[in-house]
Amino acid sequence: MPTLRIDNREVSVEDGATILQAARKLGIDVPALCWREGCTPQTSCLACVVKVNGGQRLLPSCATRVAEGMAVESETPEVHAARRMAIELLLADHAGDCLAPCTNICPAHMDIPQMLRLISAGRYHDALVVVKDKIALPAVLGRICPELCEKGCRRAAMDSPVSICSLKRFVADVDLESGQPWLPAVRPASGKRVAIVGAGAAGLAAAWYLQQLGHQCTLFDEHPLPGGNLRYAVPKELLPDDVLDAEIELTRRLGAEFVLNTRIGQQVSIKELQGRFDAVLLTVGEVDKVKATALGVDMAGKGLKVDKHVMMTPLSGVFAAGGAVQPMRHAIRAVREGRDAAHIIDGWLSGQILTPVKPDFTVRLGVLTDEELSIYTNGASDQERSSSHGLPAGLTEAQAVAQADRCLDCDCSKAEGCRLRGYAGIYEANYKRYAMPRRQVERVEAHPHVIWEPGKCIACGLCVQIATRAQEPLGLAYIGRGFNIRVAAPFDGQMSEALKTVAREVCEACPTAALTLREKAHEHAK
């Protein structure tokens, strides 16, 4: 059993083990995209490189055998930079959006195609859960949101965008009207207390998520009723009070307390709050110099001074979000900031760690050619668009299902299972760093169980190896070489002929969505 050191941590492994195996034994998550248990190492992706014994070379850990006394560097800036480069180079030659453009445009990054698929399946409750994961006040926003997401909808190039905003309102209304609106599971109480100053969109959203995370929130507001601008600035015909009240009530049911008619900085000082609470969040809406001085926080530009990444003001444990930091045009942004603040404060409360909230990694292809678009529009529903935007009545159930059906499902079918995307996120890869003319987006659905998207293939060859080992009569082949290397069935054959027996294993092995098992496509929806 040779013993080696990885990042100065000692580990003993079996004779003949690889550095990757040793690293995993230590719990180090080395990104090995093209490695699979039971397969010969492909040494293709090179995202798993390590440095050995201080040498110059970067060796693939998946195929480098350990030796007694070896000194391996894995989690160092230098090694990480090389791994990031490998990932970025792979992304440069990988044609596919991870998330749909609507999700990317939505300030709250709500998983819209997911919501639509669930509505389409009649699973309104599950759809609501997806919505509320990102948007705390969907019934409210379903009425006043400026439909930014719909600007990104790929269906717009075909006829008109899916009425996403109306559908969000639909699921939220169904939930509220059910009489037993959904309340999320709540983590055990942490014993920590958070003061939220300002019960507008940002404050309410922060409370909704902080309560779920087990922290006791108290919302202070100078007005007699909570809601801030939602109540006092938005026209009532667009947003009736009963809808606003119903969603605020849910926050209350989660345990949030409201202290109204109380102006912080006047009646109660921030210092006092700091003394009584473990953290303070300022969601007071737009501020001026006077207001800022009263709060005791410096101004920077048009709002309170914060560290942008972690939202903390110069006062320790005092955070600020929403219009208090930068004037907000859209409530949806405030809602998103409230959520981000909740997660940052959660980290702060659980150990004084400030971790920025990173948006989920995604490639953004931008404009598709007509040919590429036809992949999604072929066979799409021909239903016309209808919307409830600005109308007192929402969509009917039949309308909602028909509208949700219009979605082209242009998000990646393996967005959650894709290892390339996973590590791209962890390594904070910039998919645009090595921009070059991009590959074509392709999707072939000739196999009864497999969706094949050649543009997403990173040529790791695991599928070729697995099909060859299983002696598939046709199997898969590398075609060409160098940058133009591709994997496909020989003799222009179909995937259905190529993968007769190992379709499942090949799809599981594929590190991207180049090969996806149809039944697992968009699996997180199921």
Binding site: P41, Q42, T43, S44, C45, L46, A47, V49, Q56, R57, L58, L59, P60, A63, T64, R65, A81, A82, M85, A86, L89, L90, A92, D93, R433, Y434, M436, I458, A459, G461, V464, A467, T468, E472, P473, L474, G475, L476, A477, Y478, I479, G480, R481, G482, F483, N484, I485, P490, F491, G493
Partner: protein
């Protein structure tokens, strides 16, 4: 051939009887894949899919494997080709001498549309080829098997026309035919070089003419084909060698001069012949309408200045007896001491050295002596000698050969293989081709000794397909050695056996990497794998395998005969012996040279090469091809050895030395090499597959004046990680041309960032202009293929730069050099 092609085009049903025949002849196992595909391609001119499917039915080969292999190697075509294939060489020497312009010119000449490769009549298909190894004749175009050197955009049509008139046969029709032996020691010889460069220069025609002249005059002289002399800049070379008088060397001999040379040296005997000779001479006069000029005008004395400079600094070990011996004359090779090393190893005393023609009889005697129990040299001692000699692999990396041999010897395996790496893919290098063509017996003797040393009984010579003559000669040499029991079972009764065969490459530079080469022999895609395990431990089919470069094996007999010390006395402290270089590019005397390690670049370029051609300024030398780098003229006094070259950012590589002058753009050179490695990357690992592509994108932007700030830094970053992170030698060294040019010529990159090409090479950044010296002759206007020069006689011409394609023809045809690049 035409019939076959038409058939293919007319009916989709391809006649597959040939496939059955070929498979029956070649074999049905997976390792026969590449030879089968080569046979199919030769027959059909491409690989018809039904033929590939048929192969899968008839053999162990799977569809996945056959498609993978057929699309990996660039030799294989997947759509029908024209009747004749024109291969335009884009090797380094050809590139710096304008191969792109030649390529464009052929396309124009044959009206081949953009994006296509075959002319409308289906007569010619044009292909790019990495390097045909005739670098001293650059730019080179090969039509079927006929090689045309010194092509230029304005004259390449002549090559096509010549081919249509004389066909490929003009060059090799007579090739390996031999004149009947003229016996006797004192018979003088007329030696004519038959290396590929000489043949491309027309030496077969000259040889034929010499032979005719000899028989016509009844001269008592032997016309002898000899291997490469190395003076490739002077081809075809003819040397008249007497046993008792100084010899005479003739350079750039043409067919017409053959007869004159013969008459000059060997006046016809007897009245009738003299008369006939006189008639011929008179006819010559009539035909040429010239007064007789003595042939001495064309002759060179080896002691003359330039030739003396070219030859005197050289030291011929791997190329011993260069220009003296007939490549395939085994008896002659033995007279010159050939197989002396093997005899020594086998303990067969040398009964005679350097004289006698009875090689066969001698060997029979020797067998008896061996049986009597001569000691010979045991394998360990051979390895010790090679180690003490300090021999390092000549393929590029310079690993100590003795250590490698010892590892193979020590490795456990029920059998072991020996492999000769003759996949000399570096553009700008042709050392291995020349050794294989000129000294096939030496190569095989070296391999036999190595095989004995490591315990291998089977082996391959992997030779690239672009070297047909080398393949042919090695095959012939193997057959002759087997006939004489110098190869095969129980060699000379020694108990050692060795079976060698040739494996032809199929067009993949990466197969020069040893693990890729082995995969290729096994019939797979030439994709390298991570080492360790090294081939010494697990090579061909998992057995211990010794793999060395051509030149390494060729040095072995010399070392065994002369001893380790004689070898290690040559060279530097860490780089022993000699190195063969292909000296090409912008140099006056290009050729094949073998020099002691440690010689300086200046000595090579200035003394041997005679400096830059056309009075240009020596700027840099590109050493080691795509794996190497550019060493600037300022570092000319650097000794050439493994360590110095690596420290300077270059690499010994296999030994291509391309001289660059002040008209060469270093960014273009880097782009050229990156384009090469990027196209030759196997595509396995990310850094090489995508990283080199990205570097190339940046270089292309630079050459087009579209680069962005930060591009240089990004490229350097990519270069560093690709160098350190790629799994094989190709990827690890691919960034060297970029890194070395950035190191020494960063100012040129910076100029390109600002949209300026200092050397005036990058098409997008230059303009052609007419100076006042123009005489208005309209020649440029007539020749311009883009109609960019209006036809206005007796006026200074003007070039419309919007129409101009920068094909360079106007500048070449201008009689008064009035066209300049700005």
């Amino acid at each position: 051939m035409t019939q076959t092609l038409e058939k293919v085009e007319q009916e989709p049903q391809v006649d597959l009887l040939f496939v059955e025949e070929a498979v029956g002849r070649i074999g049905r196992t997976a390792d026969k894949m590449i030879p089968i595909l080569q046979a199919i391609q030769e027959h059909y001119h491409y690989l018809p899919e039904p033929a590939l499917r048929k192969v899968c039915q008839l053999t162990e080969i799977t569809p996945s494997a056959i498609v993978g292999v057929a699309t990996f190697y660039s030799q294989f075509r997947h759509k029908p080709a024209g009747e004749h294939i024109i291969r335009v060489c884009h090797g380094t020497a050809c590139h710096v001498k304008g191969s792109e312009l030649v390529h464009d010119a052929i396309n124009r000449h044959l009206n081949i549309p953009a994006e296509q490769d075959t002319d409308a009549d289906g007569k010619f298909t044009i292909e790019r080829v990495g390097c045909v190894g005739c670098c001293t004749l650059a730019p080179v175009v090969v039509i079927d098997t006929a090689t045309y050197g010194h092509c230029a955009p304005d004259s390449v049509g002549n090559a096509v026309a010549d081919f249509l008139v004389s066909g490929a046969g003009s060059q090799d029709g007579q090739s390996e035919q031999r004149q009947d032996k003229v016996e006797g020691d004192s018979v003088p010889e007329i030696r004519i070089g038959v290396g590929s460069c000489c043949i491309a220069g027309g030496s077969q025609k000259v040889r034929h003419a010499l032979e005719q002249a000899v028989s016509r005059h009844g001269a008592r002289v032997m016309v002898k084909p000899v291997g490469c002399v190395g003076m490739c800049h002077q081809t075809p070379l003819v040397e008249v060698v007497y046993k008792d008088r100084p010899s005479r060397l003739y350079a750039k001999v043409t067919e017409d001069q053959a007869s004159a040379i013969v008459r000059e040296h060997f006046p016809p005997r007897g009245l009738w012949r003299r008369l006939r000779g006189a008639v011929h001479t008179a006819l010559d006069h009539l035909l040429t309408d010239e007064t007789w000029q003595p042939v001495t005008r064309y002759s060179i004395d080896k002691r003359d200045g330039p030739v003396c400079d070219f030859l005197s600094r050289q030291k011929h070990l791997a190329t011993e007896f260069c220009g003296d011996i007939d490549p395939l004359d085994l008896d002659e090779y033995m007279r010159y001491g050939g197989f002396g090393a093997l005899r020594k190893v086998l303990g067969l005393e040398e009964s005679h050295s350097g004289n006698g023609h009875n090689g066969q009889a001698g060997l029979t005697q020797l067998k008896v002596k061996a049986a009597a129990g001569s000691p010979g040299i045991v394998p360990e001692q051979i390895i010790q000698t090679i180690t003490q000699a300090g021999l390092r692999g000549r393929g590029g990396a310079g690993f100590l050969s003795g250590r490698k041999w010892a590892a193979v010897r020590a490795a456990k395996g029920e059998k072991k293989y020996i492999v000769c790496n003759g996949d000399e893919g570096d553009p700008g290098a042709f050392m291995d081709r020349m050794i294989l063509e000129s000294y096939p017996y030496r190569e095989l003797e070296g391999m036999t000794i190595a095989a004995i040393a490591v315990g291998a009984r089977q082996g391959y010579l992997y030779i690239r397909a672009e070297y047909p003559l080398a393949v042919k000669r090695i095959r012939q040499a193997i057959a002759r050695l087997e006939e004489r029991n110098l190869l095969g079972d129980n060699i000379l009764g020694s108990g050692y056996s060795l079976h060698l065969q040739v494996m032809e490459g199929a067009g993949a530079f990466v197969c020069g990497e040893e693990t890729a080469l082995l995969a290729s022999i096994e019939g797979q895609r030439g994709m390298p794998r991570l080492r360790p395990p090294y081939p010494a431990e697990s090579g061909l089919w998992g057995y211990p395998t010794l793999i060395n470069n051509v030149e390494t094996y060729a040095l072995v007999p010399w070392i065994i005969r002369n001893g380790a010390e004689a070898f290690s006395n040559l060279g530097t402290a860490t780089s022993k012996g000699t190195k063969v270089f292909a000296l090409t590019g912008k140099v006056n005397r290009g050729g094949l040279i073998e020099v002691p390690m440690g010689i300086t670049i200046r000595q090579i370029v200035q003394d041997i090469g005679g400096g830059c051609a056309e009075g240009r300024k020596f700027k840099a030398v590109q050493v080691g091809g795509p794996s190497g780098g550019c060493i600037p003229a300022e570092l000319s006094d650097m000794p050439v050895d493994y360590e110095s070259l690596t420290a300077a950012g270059a690499m010994m590589g296999s030994g291509g030395l391309v001289v660059l002058d002040d008209s060469d753009c270093m960014v273009d050179i880097a782009r050229y090499f990156l384009n090469f490695t990027q196209a030759e990357s196997c595509g396995k690992c990310t850094f090489c597959r995508v990283g080199t592509k990205m570097m190339l994108e940046i270089l292309e932007r630079l050459c087009e004046g579209k680069a962005r700030p930060g591009d240089l830094e990004k490229m350097e970053e990519l270069a560093q990680v690709t160098r350190r992170g790629s799994i094989c030698g190709l990827g690890q060294t691919a960034p060297n041309p970029v890194l070395s040019t950035l190191r020494y010529f960063r100012h040129e990159y910076e100029a390109h960032l600002k949209g300026h090409c200092p050397a005036g090479k990058c098409k997008a950044l230059i303009k052609y202009e007419v100076t006042n010296t123009c005489i208005g002759c309209t020649k440029c206007s007539q020749e311009c293929p883009a109609d960019a020069i209006p036809m206005v006689p007796y006026q200074i011409h003007k070039i419309d730069n919007a129409k101009c394609t920068r094909c360079d023809i106007c500048r070449l045809v201008c009689p008064v050099d009035a066209i300049v690049i700005r």
